[in-house]
Symmetry: C2
Subunit: 190 residues, 2 copies
């Protein structure tokens, strides 16, 4: 049970998502871990390094998914398959996603967050590929931001493990409704 390094990552992730990155001090993280601030800075060279380590796994996984997506088509089936994968991703990395979405805009100039924002843009491009209509853009924004919010809101953080299957099913259904209507809005022109 290697304490410290991995523990710190988990503690930092929880604090960053609940209290916010800039509102979380290294001292607090150290206290929660039962260490001194110096020890935290021994494992992670800086607060920003700790942030990077915190979000890196989720970011790499999301990049994987997006890279694999390039080849895939924009068919309704393609979207449904992608959404299913995306829901699994979001459930696994709910805290990280919440950080990207909620604090991404306020953490510009932090390299790893800029990278995350770029990923969000790639995601938006996928869903807005065939349309520039305001409604479609809003659907994407609501689906993404809403999911991120809901999965980390104090209320929903309560129910865990045993209801995860039900959550996944409901989330997938709602996102399909928002992003891949069974009756396509218009025949795709090209």
């Amino acid at each position: 049970m290697s304490t410290s390094a991995e523990d710190l990552r988990a503690i930092a992730l929880a604090e960053f998502t609940t209290a916010g990155y800039s509102a979380t001090s290294l001292h607090r993280i150290a206290d929660l871990a039962g260490l001194s601030k110096s020890s935290v800075l021994y494992h992670y060279a800086s607060k920003e390094t700790l942030l990077e380590a915190t979000v890196a796994p989720a970011m790499h996984r999301m990049e994987e998914i997006l890279d694999a997506l390039k080849a895939s088509a924009l068919t309704p089936e393609g979207r449904a398959a992608f959404l299913s994968e995306f829901v699994d991703f979001i459930l696994q990395y709910r805290r990280e996603v919440n950080m990207f979405i909620n604090q991404g805009p306020s953490l510009v100039d932090v390299p790893v967050i800029d990278q995350a924002n770029e990923i969000v843009h790639r995601l938006a491009d996928y869903f807005a590929a065939n349309t520039a209509s305001i409604e479609e853009k809003m659907r994407f924004g609501i689906a993404l931001g809403g999911t991120a919010y809901m999965l980390c809101s104090p209320e929903s953080m309560a129910f865990e493990a045993d209801q995860v299957d039900e959550m996944r099913a409901a989330l997938l259904k709602i996102l399909m409704e928002l992003l891949a209507p069974v009756t396509p809005p218009v025949a795709i022109g090209e």
Copy 2:
């Protein structure tokens, strides 16, 4: 043109939403207003007071709406009417709503934010009145958090004024879809 007081409120609102409350220093607000930090603290006794002044109008308006709601029934028509009013509210106070939703959980113990969180709870109670199903709760969370996110995301902050009518129509349509399906999920039992 009474400078200062009202200007400061607007500047603080913009900074609190884009950079976050705890990441925004009084010094920065003063700079943006062309004043000294001392002047900011002359108009508002503390940073927290400034926050309260910033969000108070939106909070009072939302309380108005919720109070008026008590009498109204839970009929589909009631929901539709409420949603229309709610969309207007959200478009008018988009930044404030974004603050409530995104930073509410991290600003606990700030009285005015606790009050705001209570309002969100009242709202949730209205929509979850007849059901405790996970899906319904998720629908509400996604609708609320998604709308707040989308209306303050860097991309959507771009298009303004001229498209507001189109935005309202699209937003209302999407929220109706999420929260008041034309085909009620089940006949309401009681």
